[in-house]
Symmetry: C2
Subunit: 219 residues, 2 copies
């Protein structure tokens, strides 16, 4: 049986969303990020990304990670590409060309957008977007996102989805990174086609179910 | 026919190396990074990553990019995974499990190592490794690389190669990122198995041929 390690308030959302789209049954192991604990190594503390039992699953100590009948895998984008291909259907690539493009967009999300989008998300999570320093930080991140968001804008002006004219795992992998920039309105405002595509993605029942589980999560 | 856009003094090395391993015939289009030119937009200036004709190939304006009989693709890691799968043989994944692991290591290289390894490479290329500021910078980068290099050390203590007991595209994608840290000796010294694996990779004729082309390249 598939095990997904990670909490809903983490990059694991992208894997929970995909699992929902695919209708997968899985065991959820709620491993928490160590930085959220005062002393992650203390005896009796809950399982976190620095616990020896989790480092045996992912030595990098990052979530999400999976164990799929013995295949241990980490790096969220690779996990999602694997699960989509294993279970097939419309979310998966249909041929090598689609595989190439879906993989390209997944790397694009990590290489060109994730670090800056996360800065906005973290500033928001830490309540700093209302401060002058937080706004300045979000403004710098948002200016650095202009080029990749412009690439997406051009793409979504002519396409409803990233690859193959339908919703695929590429849309999940992209949308979960673009979403991090949403708390700072000026980041997405100049890109109406990106905003419309993100809205389409977020209207999917599997996204909504994941988001509700995230809101309900007790840490 | 396959076209590879990019110069040898860039991330395109990973694609040139792979093309050599696979024995591919290709057309080389030597697009230069715009930041290396005083005025990349000036009339008559050579084709670079901000030239309109290259932005039509890769709107992100980054090298490498390819055109493979009409399939336009960018993001170097995605390009390498695609070319390996298209041409098959020992460098390609043999099944979905190997595909998952090869993809995982390729994301690992980008997410966990590339930004910090590049800092060392850039400090070296700009002649700053001999200065106190450059050394301090390389030292910070090298400390941030300790965790991912530790993961690789543990892996290569028990495995000659990244996946499947043989040299695959995963080794190219990892080695081309780990190489960036080589100019600062303290970064790799604590990791003898990583160093030995990197040496094995660099002894391959296709790496040596790529490296020679890089040394011979006129900008």
């Amino acid at each position: 049986m598939l095990k997904i390690y990670g909490v809903y308030k983490s990059r694991a959302t992208r894997t929970f969303w995909l699992a929902g789209e695919l209708g997968l049954t899985f065991e959820h192991v709620p491993v928490l990020q160590a930085y959220k604990l005062a002393d992650p190594m203390a005896p009796g503390v809950r399982t976190n990304t620095r616990s020896p039992e989790f480092l045996a699953i992912n030595p990098m100590g990052a979530i999400p990670a999976i164990d799929d009948d013995g295949l241990r895998l980490y790096e969220s984008m690779a996990i999602n590409l694997y699960l989509a291909k294993k279970h097939g259907g419309p979310l998966a690539p249909r041929d090598l060309f689609e595989d190439a493009l879906i993989t390209q967009w997944s790397f694009f999300a990590v290489s060109e957008m994730e670090a800056n989008a996360l800065k906005i998300s973290m500033a928001n999570a830490q309540g700093r977007l209302a401060t002058e320093a937080g706004q300045a930080e979000a403004d710098v991140a948002s200016r650095l996102l202009k080029r990749p968001f412009g690439v997406l804008e051009q793409h979504f002006a002519g396409n409803d989805y990233a690859v193959g004219g339908r919703f695929t795992v590429a849309d999940i992998n992209l949308a979960e990174v673009v979403r991090y920039a949403q708390p700072y309105a000026p980041a997405l405002e100049p890109f109406p086609h990106v905003s419309a595509w993100l809205k389409r993605c977020h209207e999917r029942p599997a996204f909504k179910a994941m988001w509700q589980a995230r809101l309900d999560e007790q840490e």
